[in-house]
């Protein structure tokens, strides 16, 4: 399926790094120029960085401890507790701040796992082509067919609910999107002149992959990983909601689940439910904006739309199976 492209780059768009022999300016250069030129990427990136900072400095920022009972259960928001208290009398604001840690860790770690698996599969399939490609793509297709949430809950229920398990489970289920995109990119990179030159000179496959191919696909890999972070964070909330998260850890997903089982709705304690969901949405939004902006900028197909003014461009979000 053809990549559904969006509008053109703005004036001053970065040159396609794949045209630069030897790897170009590399990942940092592309991403940075994207951030500079596209507002939504900047917004997304900033929010993400802020969230990471909150997670890192949680103990300094949170007014109370995450397990500290400071008042009666389900106390409503007040000046002392701006987001009220949960069913255990713990400050919601502190919970949100501390909860960012696990949510982000799971998000990034699972995305890293997915990137490793998907990236490897994609590179191998795209570079070697032929039987390797067909086999790997078949495997990818079979993986794609298994519904994600049911598989996650089955594995979590059977193998236990530790943090590591959850990270692995999520990573192992969501690598397929990355694989496909990277494969497509690698295929095009492979045809480049300098790769062929390197092959003619007798360079080994792994050397070519690591020195030439990988740097070319790195930006796309990064973009895709950022998008996978969004999916991973969502998957964590889904698992937690179904009671399969690690109950000793505080994550945003867990906060939502806790409210659900502790009768928050019955006692009208909306403050126990709304904030964690909003926090998740904000981070997912940020990741999505950033990831699609980078992908957008790397998209070599430029299109011109005559019927409308270009100001905001957005690449359609990949369903879990982008072609």
């Amino acid at each position: 399926m053809s990549t559904i492209a969006s509008g053109p780059g703005a004036a001053g768009a970065p040159t396609d790094p794949s045209d630069v022999p030897g790897g170009g300016r590399g990942r940092g250069g592309v991403v940075w120029s994207v951030l500079r030129s596209r507002p939504q990427a900047a917004i997304g990136g900033t929010v993400l960085v802020l969230t990471i900072l909150v997670a890192v400095f949680a103990p300094l920022l949170a007014p109370y401890g995450p397990r500290e009972k400071v008042g009666p259960p389900f106390a409503p928001p007040s000046s002392a507790y701006p987001l009220g208290l949960d069913d255990g009398g713990v400050d919601m604001l502190s919970l949100i701040i501390y909860g960012s840690r696990v949510s982000l860790v799971v998000g990034f770690a699972a995305a890293a796992v997915a990137m490793l698996i998907g990236g490897s599969v994609g590179i191998l399939a795209g570079y070697f082509g032929g039987k390797t490609d067909i086999t790997l793509m078949r495997v990818t297709d079979y993986f794609l067919v298994i519904p994600d949430v049911p598989l996650m809950i089955v594995i979590a229920a059977i193998w236990g609910r530790s943090l590591t398990n959850i990270i692995i489970i999520i990573g192992v289920i969501y690598w397929t999107g990355t694989a496909r995109i990277i494969r497509a990119q690698v295929k095009s990179v492979r045809e480049r002149v300098y790769v062929r030159r390197a092959q003619a000179l007798g360079a080994s496959d792994s050397r070519i992959i690591f020195r030439h191919v990988l740097p070319q696909v790195a930006p796309l890999l990064v973009a895709n990983t950022v998008l996978t972070v969004a999916v991973a964070i969502f998957a964590e909330t889904a698992l937690a909601f179904l009671g399969l998260g690690d109950p000793s850890l505080i994550s945003w997903g867990r906060l939502i689940e806790n409210a659900f089982v502790s009768n928050a709705i019955t006692v009208d304690a909306w403050w126990a439910i709304a904030p964690p969901g909003i926090a998740v949405a904000v981070v997912i939004l940020a990741c999505t904006m950033l990831g699609t902006a980078i992908e957008d900028a790397l998209n070599p197909r430029l299109r011109v739309g005559h019927l409308s003014v270009r100001r905001f461009r957005l690449r359609p979000l990949p369903a879990k199976d982008p072609q």
Partner: protein, 556 residues
């Protein structure tokens, strides 16, 4: 263009049409002869009950759940039942006598009862049920055997008289017989062949309406949905007030409470943390009653356990007990609707509870003192060392227990203050019980757990769960004490109430000393009903009398 629009409309219509007739769980009620006249039941005449405790089965040989038992009380005749004051009155029995030696009990039964399929109800049904249970007591009927403990024989000299003969005088005949559900012989005898396996495998829900002889007939059963009981016109007693009772199961208590406050339900058991939502609402009345559920803390008390043997030491257990902050649990986890307890026998059992036992005081200093005296010094991370290893353990918790995560947090905090680290191992109930008994019901692996027991007004059952013969049965502690077991046998065969009481108290002393459990709190039973109805009994009576679902009535 137009074609597309039409197509879209067609799809939408089809969707909505499907909506009208899709699978669903609840279709029209199956009418039975239970209704007077037309077979229609007025909406006003249905008592709509909500619950989050579901049925596990409607086969009396299989069921464990409280919900199932509460329903059996209504659809089957039982000889006697409790009054609202917890005295005894006859249900099927009009009156009864005991012989001098206490071995023979004669029950005179109310005449004229009919099973819901029209067959007359006679004492033969009771005899058949009793004999079948006794015959298969070690096998398929093991669930029901405790209600005929020490029974030697049953006879029906005439259709309205039942004589039960015991092998030895028994102290709790009436509490036992209150749960002796009498089944229709003409219907169940075909299952009671050979080794009786069919008794357990039979699914009554395949033959609805269930042949019932109580005040209601079970006409519709849906484990994950709504179960309906309708009036039994052949009932030997006075007809219940509602035409029918519907018990709707909810997987989530918020959903249930929302349904209640929106007027979709009339009566339910209120989750303790949701009481505040209804107690001040003029549309509802709240009933608070003594509860039967005691949440506890479990130590693996199997002396053969190979690891962490410091946990077998009663002094260590005592130290842990002093680190349990029951007050905080009551406030945070149970909304204030619980009380601290010291014994496995629920306070509602009244005189049977040993009054000399007090819940261990929450005293961190004392706990630390005890552990210090035992020589368990703290390491650099504040965790004590015992027998060469850190005092760091896993505690198994079942998902099914409400508020378990919060309760665990409180336990964890308390134990941390005395230098013990604990990690939660949350499991679903089935796996949790399996882990406790591992390996293969030898109780060698686990260290500690948290669970509950729901006792009866008579202490016999709850005292039995720590018996040596309960390995692989009810035991969740691996406790085995032959002296205790001897006392258990004795109390079961003591007819004199005072004497029995002394034995029961002594047994509780032993358990308090040995501490296979730290008994934490007993939860109140809180029910609420809409003011469109009245006449409800406190929730503590739900398995104990037909009045519970017979007396409520609509008002105005």
């Amino acid at each position: 263009m137009t074609k597309r629009v039409l197509f879209a409309i067609a799809i939408l219509t089809m969707t909505l049409a499907l909506a009208g007739c899709g699978g669903g769980g609840d279709t029209a009620a199956t009418g039975t002869g239970a209704d007077e006249g037309e077979g229609e039941v007025q909406k006003g005449g249905i008592l709509r009950i909500g619950t989050t405790d579901g049925f596990d089965s409607i086969n009396p040989f299989v069921a464990f759940s409280a919900q199932s038992y509460a329903t059996f009380v209504d659809i089957y005749p039982v000889l006697v039942q409790y009054t609202p004051d917890f005295e005894w009155e006859g249900d099927w029995a009009e009156s009864w006598e005991t012989s001098e030696d206490g071995l023979t009990w004669t029950f005179h039964l109310k005449p004229g009862g009919k099973w819901s399929d029209g067959t007359p109800l006679t004492a033969e049904d009771a005899v058949w049920t009793g004999e079948t249970i006794l015959k298969y007591a070690k096998g398929p009927a093991a669930n029901l055997a405790p209600f005929l403990l020490h029974v030697k024989s049953l006879e029906a000299p005439d259709p309205n008289t039942l004589v039960i003969t015991y092998e030895t005088p028994v102290g709790n005949v009436l509490p036992q017989l209150q749960q002796f559900f009498i089944l229709p012989k003409h219907f169940w005898e075909k299952q009671a062949t050979g080794n009786g396996k069919a008794l357990k495998q039979y699914l009554p829900e395949k033959d609805l309406p269930v042949v019932s002889g109580g005040q209601y007939v079970l006409t519709k059963y849906d484990k994950k949905g709504t179960t309906i009981l309708e009036r039994n016109p052949g009932f030997y007693g006075s007809q219940p007030n509602p035409d029918a009772v519907g018990i709707q199961w909810f997987s989530n208590s918020d959903a249930m409470m929302t349904a209640f406050t929106s007027g979709e339900l009339d009566f339910l058991s209120v989750p303790l943390t949701a009481v505040s939502a209804v107690e001040d609402d003029p549309r509802f009345e709240v009933l608070v009653a003594d509860g039967y559920q005691i949440n506890n803390f479990i130590f693996n008390s199997n002396p053969k356990k190979p690891e962490n043997t410091e946990l077998l030491d009663p002094k260590v257990k005592e130290a842990f007990a002093h680190a349990m902050n029951r007050d905080e649990m009551i406030e945070v986890v149970y909304g204030g609707h619980a009380q601290a307890v010291a014994s496995i026998v629920t306070p509602a059992a009244g005189e049977w509870v040993n009054p000399n036992l007090e819940p261990e005081a929450y005293d961190i200093d004392l706990a630390n003192q005890i552990l210090d005296d035992l020589g368990y010094a703290r390491g650099s991370d504040g965790i004590r060392m015992a027998n060469g290893h850190r005092m760091s353990y896993e505690i198994i918790t079942p998902d099914s227990l409400d508020g378990i995560n919060r309760a665990f947090e409180i336990v964890k905090t308390g134990l941390a203050e005395i230098g013990v680290e604990v990690i939660q191992n949350p499991l679903d109930s089935t796996t949790a019980f399996d882990e406790i008994g591992a390996p293969e019901w030898k109780y060698l692996n686990f260290d500690m757990a948290m669970w509950d027991w729901v006792g009866y007004l008579d202490p016999n059952f709850v005292l039995s769960v720590v018996g040596c013969d309960q390995y692989g049965g009810w035991s969740d502690t691996g406790y085995c004490n032959p002296d205790y077991d001897k006392l258990y046998e004795e109390q079961g065969a003591t007819a004199d109430e005072e004497k029995r009481k002394q034995i029961v108290w002594e047994m509780q002393d032993i358990l308090y000393r040995d501490k296979p459990y730290i008994q934490l709190v007993v939860l109140d039973t809180i029910t609420a009903y809409s003011t469109n109805w009245d006449g409800f009994l406190p929730g503590s009576l739900d398995t104990y009398t037909k009045r519970y679902l017979g007396e409520p009535h609509q008002v105005g």
